[in-house]
Symmetry: C2
């Protein structure tokens, strides 16, 4: 199975251009699954609720999903992309999985970072695993990384591969995702954006460093901090299904669930 990421620089508000740019970067490359950054159609630094509502789209009827869908169908591939979703009068920081069949799945970011709380509703989808034939994938978005619960639940539900669109500005996540892979024996693709966004007196510099990590914590590929690029690797997602780490230890069987009550209290 060939999987990859598309690290690029969305320009704020230029949705058509950003989606076109993402598709352009994938052109001529064969892959079974692509992961794109968080909010990669809209950009990140919203200044008002109206602006978010205006840029958000319905899934699957909005133009961004339609464009990725056309590409997924033509190229027989899957795309996981971060985008602003409008649904039932609310706006979510979402990741959409677009399949070659045209079917889509949505994950709505559970853990919102900083000003995102002004613009988005907290995600209500929970953490669900989707079977795409060659692999079982789980989606999470950016700041979800710092909560071990997110990856853990996806892995417990059978995810082989975590698809993780991001807009990282702090330096901690790439190494922490290595720990996430080791503690859960899963693959993870973190796709971050690059570039600097300046709006309304705020400036954010994104750290790039998109990466693909294997279930033993090996970084199979890590991108530069500031280069628009795609990277592809060949993986065997079924390697993530073997949770044995010694003759007598299997990561999930060894969990002492009876001692874990405090995790879901309060």
């Amino acid at each position: 199975m060939r999987v990859g990421f598309v690290q690029f620089e969305p320009i704020f508000g230029e949705k058509d251009r950003n989606v076109r740019r993402s598709i352009e970067l994938m052109e001529g490359l064969e892959a079974d699954l692509w992961v794109l950054p968080e909010l990669c159609n809209t950009g990140y630094l919203f200044r008002s609720k109206e602006e978010v509502e205006d840029l958000a789209e319905e899934i699957p009827n909005g133009p961004s999903v339609q464009a990725w869908r056309e590409m997924a169908r033509e190229r027989n591939t899957h795309v996981v992309a971060g985008m602003a979703e409008r649904a039932d009068g609310k706006v979510f920081n979402a990741a959409v999985l677009v399949r070659p069949s045209g079917a889509v799945n949505v994950y709505r970011k559970a853990h919102l970072f900083d000003e995102e709380k002004r613009w988005f509703e907290p995600g209500d989808t929970g953490f669900e695993v989707v079977d795409i034939g060659d692999a079982r994938i789980g989606m999470m978005v950016c700041f979800d990384w710092i909560f071990p619960e997110a990856t853990r639940i996806l892995a417990l539900k059978g995810a082989d591969l975590i698809c993780h669109p991001a807009n990282l500005v702090l330096p901690y996540c790439p190494d922490a995702m290595v720990t996430r892979c080791i503690e859960n024996r899963v693959f993870a693709i973190t796709c971050n954006r690059i570039g600097v966004e300046r709006r309304g007196g705020s400036t954010l510099t994104f750290i790039g460093s998109s990466q693909i990590v294997d279930p033993k914590g090996q970084v199979l590929v890590r991108a530069d901090r500031d280069e628009a690029c795609v990277r592809l690797v060949e993986i065997d997602p079924t390697l993530a299904r073997d949770k044995r780490i010694t003759e007598r230890n299997a990561l999930f069987e060894d969990r002492r669930v009876a001692l874990y009550g405090a995790l879901t209290e309060g």
Copy 2:
């Protein structure tokens, strides 16, 4: 508050010597809390159940705890040490906290690694936090590191500082403990042993690399792989009580407990 670790090489079965050696290494140094390695009085590579039972001691009446207790009282300090505990006809891979008052607390390792399952009962104490005046500490032992649940529960229960005796042979734990500190905003002292143990055809090489990490994931000190040494740092444990990471984010308030049910199922 001055805290430190004692990285050294226990000799298998030589309990008196090992405990004396640990005390000798702390001599002349002022600290409020010391962390010693896992099974630091007995050594690690047991070959029979009888051997384990013979070397295990009751807490607090066995000679190892008595020796550390005397030292803790004389020097007005706390010691967390890994040892084999005999209790109610069972043997546990335990960590004991010895206080200057003579009072002790015990943690029994929840997640046993490989052959430890032949020698020890799975821990039945759960993850509890102990107030030692200057700090609230939580104990976990070695392989517990790979289960994010262990550190998480200690942090949720208010631990400022994780005391983590270890006998590490694989290379992953030191970096993973950095993630543990970041995701929980806690301090952690991992004290590993050094040296090579050869018994009954088995050989283990321990990786040293004991370390102290702060709540932002900074490695305050990390020891060499093979040097017997003590390291001390001055910390303010109350820094671990501030879980805010942005104006709008606090690590524990942001947990989406209603979405976490899968963590305690099955």
